[in-house]
């Protein structure tokens, strides 16, 4: 690749949007070409300045309140439109003038019946969303949550080390299984450390690898019959999840890197663990 081609792709490289092969070519060129390297540094500094130095205008508490109450008003307005009786309160007031005419007892029974019907309705609406068919979805949600938490709570690793021979014994001692911990740093995925996590009602190993400025959380646990062994790829809320399993273990890799990087991470990991 020449400098012009590099310049065209520089933005994509900076944003981590290129495929692994092209990224490698650019990395190679940047090592060799001072001019492009300088340009890349300037763009990185610029991106950093927008992220860090330019103001981020958060919504004020008043705005939050204003919007929430306007949403409630919108619900009220909708309700009235649906009733077909403008001007009437949407639900009759309990202290209405007819109250003394109508005897108390049937109303209570009717209210009870209404409550039962409502309960059934709500159950019918909610239950399917929590049902078993979405076990994978639920797991994906847990995985993303765990990934986000690890980055947010400043608790990325329990054992920060780039040395596989430090991380592996530490995890082995804490868990009832011995997860593979390959060294992938020569392929652009340095090991950052390991962590204990709790997912799907069991303790799991979480390995943390890095790709440029992105972190990859790799969750590992021994495969059980209820685990789905088919390879899957999920994209949710901007995160990519890649799932695979070998004879012994089930793996879920979660990250915000692009899907190609995550796929090549998975392939590398598989190659390395087969050799061991």
């Amino acid at each position: 690749m020449n400098c012009e081609e590099i310049a065209d792709l520089m933005g994509g490289y900076l944003d981590g949007e290129l495929d692994a092969l092209t990224s490698q070519k650019i990395e190679q060129h940047l090592r060799d070409c001072n001019k492009c390297e300088e340009g890349f540094e300037a763009d990185t500094a610029l991106a950093h300045a927008i992220t860090q130095s330019a103001p981020y205008y958060k919504a004020t508490a008043e705005l939050r309140q204003r919007i929430q109450s306007s949403l409630r008003d919108a619900v009220g307005a909708k309700d009235k439109d649906g009733s077909g009786q403008p001007g009437q309160p949407s639900v009759p007031r309990p202290q209405g003038e007819r109250r003394p005419v109508v005897s108390q007892v049937p109303w209570n029974w009717l209210a009870l019946a209404a409550a039962i019907i409502l309960g059934a309705l709500i159950t019918a609406v909610f239950l399917p969303r929590m049902g078993a068919p979405n076990a994978d979805q639920f797991l994906a949600t847990q995985l993303i949550a765990s990934h986000v938490r690890s980055l947010m709570a400043n608790h990325l690793t329990d054992i920060p080390s780039s040395d596989q021979h430090t991380v592996k014994p530490w995890l082995d001692a804490k868990l009832d299984f011995a997860a593979p911990v390959p060294d992938l740093s020569s392929h652009g995925f340095p090991l950052i450390g390991g962590r204990l996590d709790y997912l799907d009602n069991r303790s799991v190993a979480a390995l943390v690898y890095q790709k440029r400025k992105h972190f990859i959380n790799l969750f590992i646990w021994p495969t059980t019959p209820k685990d789905n062994t088919a390879q899957t790829m999920v994209e949710r809320e901007g995160y990519h999840l890649v799932h695979w399993s070998d004879g012994d273990f089930t793996y879920w890799a979660v990250s915000d890197v692009n899907i190609n990087d995550l796929q090549s991470f998975k392939q590398l990991f598989e190659q390395q663990t087969v050799r061991h």
């Binding site: 981020y56 009733s83 009717l110 901007g238």
Partner: protein, 223 residues
Amino acid sequence: MASVAEVNGFKNIMAATLEAEYAFDVEDLRSRTKVVKFAVVQRHEEEGAAQEHELASFEAMMLPCMDAAHNLARWLLRNEQDAQDVVQEAYLRAFRSFAGFRGSNGRAWLLTIVRNTAYTLLKKNRTADLTTAFDEEIHATDYKSVSPATILEHAEDAELIKNAMDGLPAEFREILILRHQENLSYNEIGDILKIPIGTVMSRLARARGKLKQYLAASVSQEK
């Protein structure tokens, strides 16, 4: 001629007969009223519950995105009051069409609506910044000499960065904010701006280039 007493007696008998005859109907009518009333109440409660439920899931998905929504609106409009109005309007619009929303990326969806609402206001106010604003001024300075060192040196000057950003045309401001502050992928940005991914990449490159020019211009003015 019948006496007054007789007439009164007759009236009373008639009234009693009438009452007896219609008693059942009156009772029936009352119970019907009750049934109708119950049906109305029940319908309202069902509708109310469904709407409460809809509002709850809308809020769960969208309220966490309010900072992002406000940030984008504030950068686009460069005015706090307008930004707040646009965000509020966008939330109401989003809620009205929430029933039809099937995607999983609520943030990108909301930002699309915020952006459309902001542009409506920008066009109404005929703000001149939909196109490039200070181009001539910039062309006068020798911006090509902006070195990485200069940018590194000024990268933490918040005031400088903000002014340079504010000087950019709206289409450059928004794409830089979406990429570098909201950390969205090209794919998501393409969805929001309704442009192909290739255009996202080239527009970002132009936006960065322009921002570097502006920075260089204001740095050289300072000196």
